[in-house]
């Protein structure tokens, strides 16, 4: 049945989007900035996984956590070097926080893409699948073995992250800093450390997404731009800073694109999300979960 097929494929895509969007949402939640270099975490993961598996002959199952750590480390370094100044009392003069974040993460994105392009090469190598290319039946739909396993890994990570943020000690600290940075610091949480944790987590999640999809989207220097654009749309639609919202919006976008590419237009499937984003922001400028007042 076509509809079920499209639905399942859409959900699968959505889960991968969620890996990207959750991290971005977390970052926005605690720092109130959008990380324009998020796609590059994805790229780092894709490359780490592929290079480890292909050149170092590491088994794919081991290359995956390797990718996670690569992304986490890059995230941590980025936070340390570039983002720290944002909350070190830097914002009252000259560039404002938002402006600084946009410029710096944008430049970082270009930097990382070109560094990889220069030092690793512009051509893609296909990432190895996690399992053989067997086809599996999920109900009436047919999905490739790798895709299924990758989706399961992704689902596990999404669920795990949501549980982590909601219930764990670290997760509570994250929530505290997201709600009230000063208050949290007064209560003994170090916001700087939490920011580091969040960036590492976000980087790791995006990197895993890149690794899981390295089989489908061969790692090239700018492979991360595409999923990143999706992630930006998702976090605005799902409410910047809301993890659950990001997950829901990711799934919805995946399904929408899946159906839209068949029933509306294949060529413009990537623009659906963008168009919806603009319409939503026109009608409800505060996003889907904002409040109705002029700020004072």
């Amino acid at each position: 049945m076509l509809i079920l097929d499209l639905l399942i494929n859409g959900l699968i895509i959505g889960v991968f989007y969620a890996l990207m969007a959750m991290g971005l949402s977390l970052i926005f939640g605690i720092l109130k900035i959008v990380n324009f270099a998020h796609g590059e975490f994805y790229m780092v993961g894709a490359y780490a996984y592929t290079l480890a598996a292909v050149m170092l002959k590491v088994p794919p199952w081991l290359a995956l956590p390797l990718a996670f750590f690569a992304g986490a480390i890059v995230g941590l370094v980025v936070e340390r070097l570039l983002i720290r100044p944002l909350y070190a009392g830097y914002t009252s003069w000259g560039l404002k926080r938002d402006e600084y974040a946009v410029i710096v993460t944008f430049a970082l994105s270009i930097l990382l893409i070109n560094l990889v392009d220069k030092f690793v090469g512009p051509y893609g190598i296909r990432g190895p699948p996690l399992v053989g290319n067997a086809r599996v039946h999920v109900g009436p739909a047919i999905v490739s073995g790798h895709r299924l396993v990758a989706s399961l890994v992704a689902i596990a990570l999404v669920a795990g992250t949501m549980l982590l943020v909601r219930y764990s000690h670290w997760g509570r600290q994250i929530q505290a800093v997201a709600q009230n940075r000063l208050g949290a610091s007064l209560a003994g949480t170090d916001p700087a450390r939490v920011s580091g944790i969040v960036f590492a987590l976000a980087g790791g999640l995006a990197a895993v997404a890149g690794a899981l999809l390295a089989n489908v989207f061969n790692p090239t220097p700018d492979v991360g731009l595409f999923p990143a654009t999706k992630a930006y749309v998702i976090i605005v639609l799902g409410g910047m800073g809301s993890i659950a919202g990001a997950v829901v919006a990711s799934l919805l976008l995946g399904v929408l694109e899946s159906f839209g590419s068949v029933y509306i237009s294949y060529e413009y499937r990537d623009t659906f999300g963008l168009i919806i984003l603009m319409i939503v922001l026109l009608i409800r400028p505060q996003g889907l979960l904002g409040e109705h007042s002029r700020e004072v």
Binding site: L108, V236, M240
Partner: protein, 324 residues
Amino acid sequence: MRRIVDTRGRMRTDFLASLAVLAIVAFLPAVMTSDYWRGVIVVSMYFALLAISWNLLAGYTGQFSLAPATFAMIGGYTTGLLAYHFGATAVLGIPAAIVVGGVIGLLLAAIVMRLRGPYLALTTLSFAEIIRVVIANSIDFTRGDLGLNVPSLFERRLTSYYVMLAVVAGIQAGVYWLLRGPGGLYLRAIRDDEVAAAGRGVDTVRWKTYAFALSAAIGGLAGALYAHFAQFVSPELGLVSQAGLVISMVVIGGLGSLGGPIVGAVLVYVTSELLREVGGYQLIVFAILVILFARFFRDGLWGLLRSGYERRFVTSDVRTVTAE
């Protein structure tokens, strides 16, 4: 020779200094006889226009749009399509590009009017991408990624050189005229604190709209001129990476200053051409520079030059603010 500095005086000095920079560029062909390098300067003038337009919107009005390159692409395609489908010449194409750019700028303004910061950036990014994808996919109409051939405007490169230079000077003068009047006060107030600006009676909606429309119109003009010079236009003109290039030029040159965009555009583009011969590291270098400048030299090169100048030539009545 020491004078007290007031903002209007400072702006005038900046404007005159920027004209001096353009005058230097005017003399360059006397020593720079290679057609290739003259072409490089022409293209850097194209970027200078985009830089001026983005600086007006982001540096002076605080609207950090990621779509400056989009309007260049729109302008280029307006004149290109008019030529391709109707055989129109640049005499029609260029004014049309300005108008179309401005109108679409109005549209963008309407879309993002109530947005700030990251929402604004993301929405302009989406806007830029949608338009680029539409142009790239409308193969019947635009020839998509193949691009359009655009008739040349001037036979001699040197003519293009001086025309572009004159356009930059003209736009710079226009922008200066706007900024030194009450409009400049309103835009900067919006940038500094939109909430307070509204409370003071500044019509923030109207002035943000003006800023977007004007910035877009300048972008359209730039794109059209470039299209006729390069005799080609493709969706690549509107890539986000192009927007990133423009943004780096402004940040390195000096965001929010009158002379920064021109200096930034020329330096960055010329340097990138020089480095191209050495081996493609230019984007890496610029990205690092942008990060360094954003972090440590928020006023860019122009700001550095300016403080050097002021330290030597100007009395400071403003350095120390006595404690209460």
